[in-house]
C-alpha cells in the first residue's frame, strides 16, 4: 500500500515537473535571472536604478544609448531657441496599450511630478515656485497642444541635454488609481515594448509584447520576457544549470569560478567605490547641531600626505581580484563608461601623478613620514584614533579588514578602528558625519559627468562647522572638499555646450580632485553576466537603459 502511494506521488511529481520544464524550451520567451527586483514600477515614484525594468513598460521621449547617442522614441522633432533656453518638442502619434492616445501633456505631467525636484528646480523657469507651492503646473513646462510641449530653462544648461529620459504618464489615469498606481499590472498604463502580466514580489515579473508599441514591428522580437529574481546563490546556480533561465545578469562572485570565468562577460556598471575622508572636522547631532570631532583628528584627515599614504599602501588590483573579482580596480573619480570620440573619456584624458593600482609600500611610508613631520608627531603611536565606517556586508567587511591589516603591517598604523554597521545605521552615521573614513559608493548617471564632479563642490560656499551651523544646510550636504578654483571651473561647465572643451575642463577638474586627493578610489562597480549560446544580440539592459533586448533573439534550443 505504502509503495503504491509513493509510486503515485512520484509519478504525479514527474508529470508536473516535466510540464513546467517544457515551457522553458519555447523560442519566443527570454527568461532573465535578475540580481535585484525593481523597487517600484510607478514611473512617478521611481527612485532606484533597480527600476531599470520599467523601461520595458514605458516609452521615452528620447533616450541615450550606451554610446551616448540621442535616440528619439516618441519625439518627432526637437528645436532649441537661439539663446539655448527654450526647447520645443513635438511628439509622434502613439497610444498606450489600453488605446488612450499619448499627448504632450503626459510628458509635462511626468516632468513636473518626477523630473522636477528641489535639487534641480532652479534650472527651470518657475521651477522653484512649483516645488515650494507643491503645484501641479510649472511656468516653464507646458503643453501648447496635444502634440507639442515647451520646456524653458532659466539659463542654458548642458545637463538638461544630458537627461532626456522623460516618459509619458497620463494624469487622469494616475489620479483615478490614486496610491495604487504602479502597484499591480492592472494599475499601470503601457507605452513601452512590453506589458506586465504579473509581478510576484520576490519571485518574478512576466511580460508579453505590447502590439501597440510604436516600434513593435521593428524591434523587440522576443514575445515574452520573464524576469526571475532569486536572492539565494545556490538557487541561482541551480536555475541556470536546469535551463530555467537564458541569461543571468550579475553572476555572484561565488558562481563565476563554477560557471567558468571564460564563459562570463565582465562589465562595469558606472559606480565608483572608494574611501571618503571626513575633512569637515565635525559631526552633527540632532538638537546639539555641529560638534567638533577633535582638532587632532581633523588635522590628520586634512593632511594630504596621510591620505595618500593610506592609498599607496594598498595593492588595489590584488585586493579587488581576491575579494570581489566582478569589480574592477579603478583609479579615477568618474564613470569608466563615458564615451569620448572612438574611445572613452577615461582613456582619452589620463590623469597625472596617479597612485598606481598596485600600490607602492616605500612611497606609502615616505608619505606617512612627511605627514608625521607636518603634523608634529614623533611616531605613529601618537596619532589619534580614527573610525572607519563601513556596511556590515561580506564584501565591505573583507575590504575594510584587509585594508586595516595592510595599513598596520606596512605603515604600523594601529589607530584605525573599523566601525561596521548594518546598512541603514551606516547610512545614518554617514548622513550625520559620524565617521572619519567611510566606504562611499558614488552612483552615477553615465551620461552626466557633471553630476559627480559637482559632488565635490563647496556646498553653499561654506566648509566649516560654524558656517554650516549658520547656513542651515543639512549635515549630509557638508563639503568634504573646498576649492574655489574647482568650484568656478565646474560651474562654468554647466553653460559650456562645446563638448570637446567641456570634456577638457572635466579633465582639469578631475585632475584638481586628484591633486587634492579628496577621495581614495578603490574600484569601479560592475559584474559578470552569462548568456546561453542560443541567445543572440543580448546587451546588458542596465547599460542600455532597458533597450538592451531591442534586437535580442532566442534561437531554437
Amino acid at each position: 500500500m505504502l509503495k503504491r502511494m509513493l509510486s503515485c506521488i512520484l509519478c504525479l511529481c514527474l508529470v508536473f515537473g516535466c510540464t513546467s520544464l517544457s515551457a522553458a524550451a519555447e523560442n519566443d520567451t527570454l527568461n532573465i535571472l535578475i540580481s535585484a527586483e525593481p523597487v517600484t514600477l510607478n514611473t512617478l515614484e521611481s527612485k532606484s536604478n533597480l527600476d531599470t525594468y520599467v523601461f520595458y513598460l514605458t516609452s521615452a521621449l528620447l533616450y541615450r544609448s550606451i554610446g551616448l547617442e540621442v535616440i528619439p522614441e516618441l519625439c518627432d522633432t526637437m528645436t532649441v531657441s537661439e539663446d539655448g533656453t527654450t526647447y520645443t518638442y513635438t511628439i509622434k502619434d502613439a497610444r498606450y496599450s489600453d488605446g488612450t492616445p499619448i499627448v504632450a501633456d503626459d510628458f509635462v505631467y511626468f516632468m513636473i511630478k518626477n523630473y522636477l525636484t528641489g535639487d534641480n528646480a532652479w534650472m527651470f523657469v518657475g521651477g522653484e515656485d512649483t516645488i515650494n507651492g507643491s503645484l501641479d503646473t510649472c511656468e516653464g513646462i507646458y503643453a501648447l497642444d496635444d502634440k507639442t510641449f515647451v520646456v524653458t530653462l532659466a539659463a542654458p544648461n548642458v545637463t538638461f541635454n544630458g537627461k532626456l529620459e522623460i516618459y509619458p504618464v497620463n494624469r487622469a489615469f494616475v489620479e483615478a488609481k490614486g496610491a495604487a498606481y504602479g502597484g499591480t499590472p492592472a494599475d499601470l498604463q503601457y507605452s513601452g515594448p512590453y506589458i506586465l502580466d504579473d509581478w510576484t514580489i520576490g519571485t518574478s515579473l512576466t511580460l508579453h509584447k505590447n502590439p501597440d508599441y510604436i516600434y513593435a514591428d521593428t524591434y523587440f522580437p522576443v514575445r515574452n520576457v520573464g524576469l526571475y529574481y532569486s536572492a539565494d546563490i545556490s538557487s541561482r546556480y541551480s536555475m541556470w544549470q536546469n535551463d530555467e533561465v537564458d541569461v543571468m545578469v550579475n553572476v555572484p562572485n561565488e558562481l563565476v569560478e563554477l560557471l567558468g570565468e571564460e564563459n562570463c562577460n565582465k562589465y562595469t556598471a558606472g559606480n565608483v567605490v572608494g574611501i571618503e575622508f571626513n575633512t569637515t572636522g565635525f559631526t552633527y547631532t540632532e538638537g546639539d547641531g555641529f560638534q567638533s570631532r577633535g582638532e587632532d583628528v581633523t588635522a590628520l584627515l586634512k593632511n594630504r600626505n596621510f591620505r595618500m599614504a593610506l592609498c599607496y599602501a594598498v595593492d588595489r588590483e590584488a585586493l579587488v581580484d581576491s575579494i570581489s573579482p566582478s569589480e574592477t580596480a579603478f583609479n579615477r573619480y568618474v564613470d569608466p563608461n563615458i564615451p569620448y570620440g572612438e574611445s572613452t573619456y577615461v582613456d582619452s584624458f589620463p590623469m597625472e601623478n596617479v597612485i598606481p593600482l598596485t600600490g607602492d609600500a616605500d612611497k606609502a611610508r615616505e608619505c606617512l613620514q612627511k605627514a608625521l613631520e607636518e603634523l608634529g608627531y614623533a611616531s605613529v603611536s601618537e596619532l589619534p584614533k580614527l573610525s572607519y565606517l563601513c556596511f556590515e556586508t561580506d564584501v565591505q567587511k573583507m575590504f575594510a579588514v584587509t585594508m586595516v591589516s595592510l595599513w598596520k603591517s606596512i605603515l604600523g598604523l594601529e589607530n584605525i578602528e573599523i566601525n561596521m554597521q548594518p546598512i541603514q545605521s551606516a547610512i545614518m552615521s554617514m548622513v550625520f558625519m559620524n565617521y572619519d573614513l567611510y566606504t562611499q559608493q558614488l552612483t552615477l548617471n553615465p551620461d552626466n559627468m557633471l553630476e559627480l564632479l559637482s559632488y565635490w563642490e563647496t556646498t553653499g560656499g561654506v566648509s566649516d562647522a560654524a558656517g554650516f551651523q549658520a547656513s542651515g544646510v543639512p549635515s549630509f550636504m557638508a563639503s568634504i572638499h573646498a576649492n574655489a578654483d574647482y568650484d568656478a571651473l565646474v560651474e562654468s561647465m554647466y553653460a559650456n555646450f562645446d563638448e570637446a572643451s567641456r570634456y577638457a575642463d572635466a579633465a582639469k577638474a578631475e585632475q584638481m580632485l586628484y591633486d587634492d586627493f579628496v577621495f581614495f578610489p578603490l574600484y569601479a562597480g560592475g559584474g559578470f553576466e552569462i548568456v546561453k549560446p542560443y541567445v543572440e544580440g543580448w546587451v546588458n539592459p542596465y547599460l542600455e537603459n532597458g533597450y538592451g533586448i531591442a534586437n535580442t533573439t532566442v534561437a531554437a534550443h
Binding site: A23, G183, T184, S238, E244, M428
Partner: protein
Amino acid sequence: MSLLSSVSWKGWDSMLRYILRRFLISLATVWMIATICFFLIRMLPGNPFIVANPLDMTNAERLMDYYGLSDPLWQQYVRFLGNLVHLDFGYSLAHPGRSVNDVIIQYFPVTAQLAVQAILFGIPTGILLGILSAYRRGSGLDYGTQMLTILTTAIPSYVLAALLQLLFSVQLHWFPASGWKNFSYTILPTICLSLGLIAGYCRFMRTLMLEVGQQDYLRTAKAKGLSNIRIIVFHQIRNAILPLVTNLGLEIAGLLMGSYVIEKIFSVPGLGKYFVTSINELDYTMALGLVVFQAVVVVAANFLVDLLYGIVDPRVKVA
C-alpha cells in the same frame, strides 16, 4: 425535561462565556503585540526612503512628510490604531502602489498552500513512521528511522534545500529549482518544510507509543483477546495522539507565518520572506501589518486547538 434543558443551557452558557473571555484576551494580546512592535520598529535607525539612494536626502525628507512620518510619534500611533480598527494597514513604503492588505490577500494563500501541503505530507508520514518504529522497536526499520530523523533535524534547512535542488533540479532535471508558477514549483519547498515535521512527529509519536504501550489498559485489551491492529488503532494510537494535538496548534501557526529561509531559497512569494525584507527595508506599514496579521493567526490557531482538544479528549471541559 426542564432539568435537562437547564443543564444543557448551563453548558452552552459557560462555553459562550469562555469563548467571549478568550476573544477579549486575544484582542488585548494582539493590541499589545501591535503596540510593542510599533514602537520597537521606530527605534531602528534610519528611514525607509534612503535605502535606495543614500545621497538623495531631500527626496527622502519630502517622502517622510508625505507619509506623515515626520509627525510626532504619538500622533502616528493614534493614526495607526485608528487604521487598525478599520483593518486598513495602509500602503507599503518600500513598494509604492502595493497595499498591505493586498499583499496579505495575495501572498498568504501561497504560504498557506505550502503549510497545508507540508502538514498533509509531513505529519501523517511522521506519525506513521513513529508508529512503525515503535511497533518494530529495535529492528532495522527502527534504527533506520531514528538515524533519518536525527539527520534531518541536524542538517539546516538551507543545506537540505540546496541538496534537494542539486539532486532534483541540476542532476535529475525533475523539478524546477526556484520560482512559483505551478504545482511542480511547490514540491521541493514542500519536501524541505516537511522533513522537519516528519522527524519531529516521528520521534514524538514513537516515544508516546512506547509510553502508552506500558499502560495497564493495553494489557487488559490483550487479555480480552483483541487483535494487535485493534489494540494499536483504537487504544494505543488514540491515547498517544492527544499530546500531539497541543503541539499541532503551534506547528500550524508557525508554518502559516512562513519560512524565511525556504521562501528565500526557492523564491516563494510567501509572507515569511516579505516579513523579513519589510523589516530590513524599514517598511513600517508592511512590517506592522504583517505582525498584526500573524499575531491574529497565532492567537486564532491556539484558540482553535484548545477547542479541538475538548473534542479529542472528552475529559477536557470548560471549567
